[in-house]
Assembly symmetry: C2
Homo-oligomer: 183 residues x 2
DNA sequence: AAGTTTGTTAAAAATTTATTTAATCTTTCA
DNA sequence: TGAAAGATTAAATAAATTTTTAACAAACTT
Protein backbone atom coordinates (compact mmCIF):
# COMPACT_ATOMS: atom_id res chain seq x y z
CA UNK A 1 0.00 0.00 0.00
CA UNK A 2 1.35 3.43 -0.96
CA UNK A 3 2.35 6.11 1.43
CA UNK A 4 -0.33 8.56 0.24
CA UNK A 5 -3.00 5.90 0.19
CA UNK A 6 -2.29 5.24 3.84
CA UNK A 7 -2.57 8.96 4.55
CA UNK A 8 -5.91 9.13 2.75
CA UNK A 9 -7.30 6.29 4.80
CA UNK A 10 -6.24 8.01 7.99
CA UNK A 11 -7.89 11.18 6.78
CA UNK A 12 -11.14 9.33 6.17
CA UNK A 13 -10.99 7.89 9.67
CA UNK A 14 -10.38 11.33 11.12
CA UNK A 15 -13.34 12.70 9.20
CA UNK A 16 -15.57 9.96 10.55
CA UNK A 17 -14.26 10.43 14.08
CA UNK A 18 -15.21 14.10 14.06
CA UNK A 19 -18.81 13.21 13.30
CA UNK A 20 -18.80 10.26 15.67
CA UNK A 21 -17.66 12.55 18.46
CA UNK A 22 -20.35 15.12 17.73
CA UNK A 23 -23.16 12.60 17.47
CA UNK A 24 -22.10 10.85 20.65
CA UNK A 25 -21.87 14.15 22.51
CA UNK A 26 -25.37 15.28 21.65
CA UNK A 27 -26.93 11.92 22.32
CA UNK A 28 -27.37 12.63 26.03
CA UNK A 29 -30.66 14.11 24.86
CA UNK A 30 -31.76 10.58 24.10
CA UNK A 31 -30.98 9.50 27.64
CA UNK A 32 -28.33 6.96 26.76
CA UNK A 33 -24.97 6.45 28.45
CA UNK A 34 -21.86 7.87 26.79
CA UNK A 35 -20.76 4.40 25.77
CA UNK A 36 -24.10 3.58 24.16
CA UNK A 37 -23.94 6.93 22.40
CA UNK A 38 -20.46 6.13 21.20
CA UNK A 39 -21.58 2.76 19.99
CA UNK A 40 -24.46 4.17 18.00
CA UNK A 41 -22.27 6.82 16.42
CA UNK A 42 -19.75 4.17 15.45
CA UNK A 43 -22.44 1.95 13.98
CA UNK A 44 -23.77 4.90 12.01
CA UNK A 45 -20.83 4.47 9.64
CA UNK A 46 -21.05 0.69 9.37
CA UNK A 47 -23.39 -1.58 7.45
CA UNK A 48 -23.71 -3.95 10.35
CA UNK A 49 -21.76 -5.09 13.37
CA UNK A 50 -21.47 -8.12 15.63
CA UNK A 51 -20.90 -7.87 19.36
CA UNK A 52 -17.30 -8.95 18.90
CA UNK A 53 -16.69 -6.27 16.31
CA UNK A 54 -18.15 -3.69 18.66
CA UNK A 55 -15.93 -4.81 21.48
CA UNK A 56 -12.86 -4.71 19.29
CA UNK A 57 -13.78 -1.35 17.81
CA UNK A 58 -14.63 0.39 21.08
CA UNK A 59 -12.20 -1.60 23.21
CA UNK A 60 -14.81 -2.54 25.78
CA UNK A 61 -16.15 -5.74 27.29
CA UNK A 62 -18.74 -7.85 25.54
CA UNK A 63 -21.42 -7.57 28.24
CA UNK A 64 -20.99 -3.84 28.08
CA UNK A 65 -21.67 -3.92 24.34
CA UNK A 66 -24.55 -6.28 24.96
CA UNK A 67 -26.28 -3.89 27.36
CA UNK A 68 -25.56 -0.85 25.21
CA UNK A 69 -26.95 -2.49 22.11
CA UNK A 70 -29.99 -3.61 24.11
CA UNK A 71 -30.66 -0.06 25.24
CA UNK A 72 -30.28 1.18 21.67
CA UNK A 73 -32.69 -1.48 20.48
CA UNK A 74 -35.16 -0.30 23.10
CA UNK A 75 -35.28 3.18 21.61
CA UNK A 76 -35.18 1.63 18.14
CA UNK A 77 -31.91 3.19 17.09
CA UNK A 78 -30.47 -0.26 16.45
CA UNK A 79 -32.11 -3.35 14.99
CA UNK A 80 -31.09 -6.98 14.98
CA UNK A 81 -30.61 -8.50 11.55
CA UNK A 82 -30.35 -12.04 10.30
CA UNK A 83 -27.12 -12.89 8.62
CA UNK A 84 -27.17 -16.27 7.03
CA UNK A 85 -24.04 -18.26 7.51
CA UNK A 86 -22.86 -16.48 10.63
CA UNK A 87 -23.76 -17.72 14.06
CA UNK A 88 -23.08 -14.30 15.46
CA UNK A 89 -25.97 -11.91 15.76
CA UNK A 90 -25.60 -8.83 13.67
CA UNK A 91 -26.97 -5.38 14.37
CA UNK A 92 -27.58 -2.36 12.20
CA UNK A 93 -27.95 1.27 13.18
CA UNK A 94 -31.04 3.19 12.18
CA UNK A 95 -29.57 5.75 9.81
CA UNK A 96 -32.71 7.74 9.20
CA UNK A 97 -32.62 10.49 11.80
CA UNK A 98 -36.24 11.38 11.11
CA UNK A 99 -37.30 7.94 12.22
CA UNK A 100 -35.15 8.10 15.35
CA UNK A 101 -36.59 11.49 16.20
CA UNK A 102 -40.13 10.25 15.69
CA UNK A 103 -39.78 7.05 17.66
CA UNK A 104 -37.96 8.58 20.58
CA UNK A 105 -39.84 11.82 21.15
CA UNK A 106 -43.27 10.44 20.39
CA UNK A 107 -42.69 7.67 22.87
CA UNK A 108 -41.45 10.02 25.57
CA UNK A 109 -44.09 12.66 25.02
CA UNK A 110 -46.86 10.09 25.03
CA UNK A 111 -45.55 8.81 28.33
CA UNK A 112 -45.52 12.37 29.68
CA UNK A 113 -49.06 13.05 28.54
CA UNK A 114 -50.44 9.77 29.81
CA UNK A 115 -48.80 9.92 33.20
CA UNK A 116 -49.60 13.56 33.90
CA UNK A 117 -53.11 13.52 32.51
CA UNK A 118 -53.99 10.53 34.64
CA UNK A 119 -52.67 12.26 37.73
CA UNK A 120 -54.50 15.45 36.84
CA UNK A 121 -57.82 13.68 36.35
CA UNK A 122 -57.51 11.93 39.68
CA UNK A 123 -56.47 15.11 41.43
CA UNK A 124 -59.34 17.05 39.92
CA UNK A 125 -61.79 14.43 41.18
CA UNK A 126 -60.43 14.87 44.68
CA UNK A 127 -60.61 18.63 44.41
CA UNK A 128 -64.18 18.48 43.13
CA UNK A 129 -65.13 16.49 46.22
CA UNK A 130 -63.70 19.19 48.45
CA UNK A 131 -65.41 21.97 46.50
CA UNK A 132 -68.78 20.24 46.63
CA UNK A 133 -68.45 19.31 50.28
CA UNK A 134 -70.97 21.54 52.07
CA UNK A 135 -69.03 21.37 55.31
CA UNK A 136 -65.90 22.93 53.75
CA UNK A 137 -64.96 26.42 54.81
CA UNK A 138 -64.82 29.15 52.19
CA UNK A 139 -61.04 29.35 52.52
CA UNK A 140 -60.57 25.67 51.75
CA UNK A 141 -63.00 25.76 48.84
CA UNK A 142 -61.17 28.72 47.35
CA UNK A 143 -57.88 26.84 47.62
CA UNK A 144 -59.33 23.78 45.94
CA UNK A 145 -60.83 25.87 43.16
CA UNK A 146 -57.53 27.62 42.55
CA UNK A 147 -55.68 24.33 42.11
CA UNK A 148 -58.49 22.88 40.03
CA UNK A 149 -58.29 25.78 37.61
CA UNK A 150 -54.52 25.61 37.42
CA UNK A 151 -54.73 21.93 36.47
CA UNK A 152 -57.52 22.61 33.99
CA UNK A 153 -55.38 25.24 32.34
CA UNK A 154 -52.39 22.89 32.08
CA UNK A 155 -54.45 20.37 30.15
CA UNK A 156 -54.24 22.67 27.14
CA UNK A 157 -50.55 21.91 26.96
CA UNK A 158 -50.96 18.16 27.19
CA UNK A 159 -53.62 18.21 24.50
CA UNK A 160 -51.29 20.17 22.30
CA UNK A 161 -48.41 17.80 22.96
CA UNK A 162 -50.68 14.93 22.12
CA UNK A 163 -51.61 16.64 18.85
CA UNK A 164 -47.95 17.19 18.09
CA UNK A 165 -47.25 13.51 18.54
CA UNK A 166 -50.17 12.62 16.28
CA UNK A 167 -49.01 14.95 13.54
CA UNK A 168 -45.49 13.54 13.69
CA UNK A 169 -46.75 9.97 13.70
CA UNK A 170 -49.04 10.57 10.74
CA UNK A 171 -46.44 12.58 8.88
CA UNK A 172 -48.79 15.53 8.63
CA UNK A 173 -46.18 17.75 10.20
CA UNK A 174 -44.14 17.46 7.03
CA UNK A 175 -46.86 19.26 5.13
CA UNK A 176 -46.26 22.21 7.40
CA UNK A 177 -42.49 21.74 7.71
CA UNK A 178 -41.23 19.93 4.61
CA UNK A 179 -38.20 17.73 4.93
CA UNK A 180 -36.90 19.22 1.74
CA UNK A 181 -37.81 22.87 1.80
CA UNK A 182 -38.31 24.37 -1.67
CA UNK A 183 -35.62 27.06 -1.32
CA UNK B 1 -60.37 23.96 63.14
CA UNK B 2 -63.11 21.41 62.44
CA UNK B 3 -62.61 17.75 61.85
CA UNK B 4 -63.97 17.80 58.29
CA UNK B 5 -62.00 20.92 57.44
CA UNK B 6 -58.86 19.11 58.43
CA UNK B 7 -59.88 16.20 56.22
CA UNK B 8 -60.46 18.53 53.28
CA UNK B 9 -57.04 20.07 53.65
CA UNK B 10 -55.44 16.65 53.65
CA UNK B 11 -57.41 15.77 50.55
CA UNK B 12 -56.12 18.85 48.77
CA UNK B 13 -52.58 17.94 49.71
CA UNK B 14 -53.09 14.43 48.41
CA UNK B 15 -54.45 15.79 45.14
CA UNK B 16 -51.42 18.02 44.73
CA UNK B 17 -49.05 15.21 45.62
CA UNK B 18 -50.45 13.01 42.86
CA UNK B 19 -49.64 15.65 40.28
CA UNK B 20 -46.29 16.48 41.89
CA UNK B 21 -45.31 12.83 41.64
CA UNK B 22 -46.30 12.58 38.00
CA UNK B 23 -44.55 15.78 36.96
CA UNK B 24 -41.39 14.83 38.82
CA UNK B 25 -41.37 11.37 37.29
CA UNK B 26 -41.58 12.58 33.71
CA UNK B 27 -39.03 15.32 34.18
CA UNK B 28 -36.11 13.02 33.46
CA UNK B 29 -36.80 14.03 29.87
CA UNK B 30 -35.53 17.45 30.82
CA UNK B 31 -32.28 15.99 32.07
CA UNK B 32 -32.65 17.09 35.67
CA UNK B 33 -32.02 15.05 38.79
CA UNK B 34 -34.96 13.56 40.67
CA UNK B 35 -34.55 16.09 43.44
CA UNK B 36 -34.57 19.03 41.04
CA UNK B 37 -37.61 17.52 39.37
CA UNK B 38 -39.26 17.18 42.73
CA UNK B 39 -38.44 20.74 43.58
CA UNK B 40 -39.92 22.09 40.37
CA UNK B 41 -43.09 20.06 40.79
CA UNK B 42 -43.44 21.37 44.33
CA UNK B 43 -42.90 24.95 43.23
CA UNK B 44 -45.50 24.49 40.51
CA UNK B 45 -48.15 24.77 43.21
CA UNK B 46 -46.60 27.73 45.03
CA UNK B 47 -46.49 31.40 44.23
CA UNK B 48 -42.89 31.70 45.26
CA UNK B 49 -40.37 30.04 47.54
CA UNK B 50 -37.20 30.87 49.41
CA UNK B 51 -34.32 28.41 49.79
CA UNK B 52 -35.27 27.86 53.40
CA UNK B 53 -38.85 27.06 52.51
CA UNK B 54 -37.61 24.58 49.92
CA UNK B 55 -35.35 22.92 52.41
CA UNK B 56 -38.14 22.62 54.93
CA UNK B 57 -40.63 21.41 52.36
CA UNK B 58 -38.41 18.79 50.75
CA UNK B 59 -36.40 18.00 53.86
CA UNK B 60 -33.05 18.49 52.20
CA UNK B 61 -29.99 20.62 52.78
CA UNK B 62 -29.78 24.21 51.64
CA UNK B 63 -26.85 23.75 49.25
CA UNK B 64 -28.78 20.94 47.65
CA UNK B 65 -31.69 23.28 47.07
CA UNK B 66 -29.29 25.92 45.87
CA UNK B 67 -27.84 23.66 43.16
CA UNK B 68 -31.24 22.32 42.15
CA UNK B 69 -32.70 25.76 41.81
CA UNK B 70 -29.64 26.83 39.86
CA UNK B 71 -30.10 23.98 37.41
CA UNK B 72 -33.77 24.84 37.04
CA UNK B 73 -32.86 28.46 36.40
CA UNK B 74 -30.47 27.29 33.69
CA UNK B 75 -33.28 25.67 31.76
CA UNK B 76 -35.52 28.62 32.66
CA UNK B 77 -38.06 26.61 34.57
CA UNK B 78 -37.47 28.78 37.61
CA UNK B 79 -36.82 32.51 37.86
CA UNK B 80 -35.48 34.66 40.65
CA UNK B 81 -37.82 37.39 41.82
CA UNK B 82 -37.37 40.47 43.92
CA UNK B 83 -39.33 40.53 47.10
CA UNK B 84 -39.13 43.85 48.84
CA UNK B 85 -38.75 43.61 52.57
CA UNK B 86 -37.21 40.17 52.67
CA UNK B 87 -33.50 39.66 52.52
CA UNK B 88 -34.05 36.11 51.33
CA UNK B 89 -34.02 35.47 47.61
CA UNK B 90 -37.31 34.24 46.27
CA UNK B 91 -37.88 32.01 43.29
CA UNK B 92 -40.93 31.28 41.17
CA UNK B 93 -41.62 28.31 38.92
CA UNK B 94 -42.46 28.85 35.28
CA UNK B 95 -46.04 27.65 35.13
CA UNK B 96 -46.53 27.96 31.42
CA UNK B 97 -45.60 24.54 30.05
CA UNK B 98 -45.51 25.88 26.50
CA UNK B 99 -42.72 28.23 27.46
CA UNK B 100 -40.79 25.47 29.23
CA UNK B 101 -41.17 23.23 26.21
CA UNK B 102 -39.99 25.96 23.88
CA UNK B 103 -37.01 27.05 25.91
CA UNK B 104 -35.76 23.57 26.67
CA UNK B 105 -36.17 21.78 23.35
CA UNK B 106 -35.17 24.72 21.20
CA UNK B 107 -32.01 25.12 23.22
CA UNK B 108 -31.15 21.42 23.03
CA UNK B 109 -32.01 21.01 19.39
CA UNK B 110 -30.03 24.11 18.43
CA UNK B 111 -27.07 22.66 20.26
CA UNK B 112 -27.51 19.37 18.41
CA UNK B 113 -27.75 21.07 15.04
CA UNK B 114 -24.80 23.36 15.66
CA UNK B 115 -22.48 20.70 17.00
CA UNK B 116 -23.28 18.09 14.37
CA UNK B 117 -23.39 20.45 11.42
CA UNK B 118 -19.99 21.86 12.31
CA UNK B 119 -18.54 18.37 12.53
CA UNK B 120 -20.20 17.38 9.26
CA UNK B 121 -18.84 20.42 7.43
CA UNK B 122 -15.34 19.73 8.67
CA UNK B 123 -15.58 16.06 7.84
CA UNK B 124 -16.88 16.79 4.36
CA UNK B 125 -13.93 19.10 3.73
CA UNK B 126 -11.54 16.30 4.66
CA UNK B 127 -13.40 13.84 2.48
CA UNK B 128 -13.37 16.25 -0.45
CA UNK B 129 -9.58 16.45 -0.15
CA UNK B 130 -9.31 12.69 -0.37
CA UNK B 131 -11.69 12.51 -3.34
CA UNK B 132 -9.82 15.22 -5.25
CA UNK B 133 -6.40 13.78 -4.43
CA UNK B 134 -5.16 12.37 -7.73
CA UNK B 135 -2.91 9.89 -5.97
CA UNK B 136 -5.83 8.21 -4.20
CA UNK B 137 -6.78 4.72 -5.28
CA UNK B 138 -10.25 4.11 -6.67
CA UNK B 139 -11.20 2.10 -3.61
CA UNK B 140 -10.33 4.90 -1.23
CA UNK B 141 -12.12 7.49 -3.36
CA UNK B 142 -15.24 5.35 -3.41
CA UNK B 143 -15.15 5.04 0.37
CA UNK B 144 -14.77 8.78 0.79
CA UNK B 145 -17.63 9.44 -1.62
CA UNK B 146 -19.89 7.02 0.20
CA UNK B 147 -19.34 8.76 3.53
CA UNK B 148 -19.62 12.19 1.93
CA UNK B 149 -23.02 11.30 0.50
CA UNK B 150 -24.22 9.81 3.77
CA UNK B 151 -23.33 13.04 5.57
CA UNK B 152 -24.91 15.15 2.84
CA UNK B 153 -28.11 13.19 3.22
CA UNK B 154 -28.15 13.65 6.98
CA UNK B 155 -28.07 17.41 6.60
CA UNK B 156 -31.69 17.26 5.49
CA UNK B 157 -32.60 16.25 9.00
CA UNK B 158 -30.60 18.99 10.67
CA UNK B 159 -32.11 21.60 8.37
CA UNK B 160 -35.55 20.31 9.26
CA UNK B 161 -34.78 20.35 12.97
CA UNK B 162 -33.54 23.89 12.58
CA UNK B 163 -36.79 24.84 10.84
CA UNK B 164 -38.77 23.20 13.61
CA UNK B 165 -36.94 25.29 16.20
CA UNK B 166 -37.59 28.44 14.17
CA UNK B 167 -41.29 27.72 13.87
CA UNK B 168 -41.58 27.07 17.59
CA UNK B 169 -39.59 30.19 18.45
CA UNK B 170 -41.68 32.36 16.15
CA UNK B 171 -44.93 30.77 17.25
CA UNK B 172 -45.76 29.85 13.67
CA UNK B 173 -46.20 26.24 14.70
CA UNK B 174 -49.35 27.26 16.54
CA UNK B 175 -50.95 28.19 13.25
CA UNK B 176 -50.54 24.57 12.21
CA UNK B 177 -51.17 23.09 15.64
CA UNK B 178 -53.36 25.48 17.64
CA UNK B 179 -52.99 25.54 21.39
CA UNK B 180 -56.74 25.60 21.67
CA UNK B 181 -58.07 23.35 18.95
CA UNK B 182 -61.53 24.32 17.68
CA UNK B 183 -63.12 21.01 18.59
C1' DA C 1 -23.86 -36.58 22.65
C1' DA C 2 -19.55 -33.84 23.76
C1' DG C 3 -17.24 -29.78 22.90
C1' DT C 4 -17.20 -24.97 21.16
C1' DT C 5 -18.84 -20.71 20.27
C1' DT C 6 -21.96 -16.97 21.38
C1' DG C 7 -24.87 -14.25 24.27
C1' DT C 8 -26.79 -13.13 28.72
C1' DT C 9 -27.19 -12.82 33.63
C1' DA C 10 -25.09 -12.03 38.42
C1' DA C 11 -22.00 -10.22 41.40
C1' DA C 12 -18.15 -7.16 42.17
C1' DA C 13 -15.37 -3.11 41.14
C1' DA C 14 -14.94 1.33 39.57
C1' DT C 15 -16.50 5.52 38.20
C1' DT C 16 -19.53 9.18 38.19
C1' DT C 17 -23.10 11.90 40.13
C1' DA C 18 -25.64 13.75 43.89
C1' DT C 19 -25.85 15.32 48.63
C1' DT C 20 -24.24 17.06 52.87
C1' DT C 21 -21.23 19.39 56.26
C1' DA C 22 -18.20 23.00 56.89
C1' DA C 23 -16.13 27.16 55.47
C1' DT C 24 -16.16 31.38 52.72
C1' DC C 25 -18.04 35.10 50.50
C1' DT C 26 -21.97 38.72 49.79
C1' DT C 27 -25.37 41.45 50.96
C1' DT C 28 -28.09 44.15 53.98
C1' DC C 29 -29.12 46.77 57.79
C1' DA C 30 -27.89 49.15 62.03
C1' DT D 1 -18.02 50.31 59.06
C1' DG D 2 -19.27 46.21 61.44
C1' DA D 3 -22.42 42.62 62.63
C1' DA D 4 -25.71 39.38 61.13
C1' DA D 5 -28.17 36.76 57.77
C1' DG D 6 -28.22 34.48 53.56
C1' DA D 7 -26.26 32.17 49.61
C1' DT D 8 -22.56 29.93 47.39
C1' DT D 9 -18.33 27.29 46.99
C1' DA D 10 -15.15 23.39 48.44
C1' DA D 11 -14.22 19.16 50.34
C1' DA D 12 -15.95 14.98 51.93
C1' DT D 13 -19.39 11.51 52.07
C1' DA D 14 -22.99 8.83 50.21
C1' DA D 15 -25.61 6.95 46.57
C1' DA D 16 -26.45 5.50 42.14
C1' DT D 17 -24.72 4.15 37.51
C1' DT D 18 -21.78 2.08 34.59
C1' DT D 19 -18.47 -1.32 33.50
C1' DT D 20 -16.11 -5.50 34.09
C1' DT D 21 -14.96 -10.18 35.50
C1' DA D 22 -16.78 -14.48 36.02
C1' DA D 23 -20.22 -17.92 35.73
C1' DC D 24 -24.07 -19.70 33.22
C1' DA D 25 -27.25 -21.03 29.45
C1' DA D 26 -28.33 -21.78 24.70
C1' DA D 27 -27.25 -23.09 20.09
C1' DC D 28 -24.57 -24.96 16.75
C1' DT D 29 -20.74 -28.42 14.97
C1' DT D 30 -18.69 -32.40 14.49
Amino acid sequence: MSESDERSKIKIEEAKDKVIGAIAETMDLYGVTPSAANLYATMYFKDQMTLDEMRTDLEMSKPSMSTSVRKLQEIEMVKKTFTRGSRKHTYVAEKNFFRSFMVFYCHMWEREVKMNMEAIEEAQEDLKDVIKDSTSTLEVVEQAKKYFDQLEESKTYYHWLSDLVASIRSGKIFEFLPKDPQD
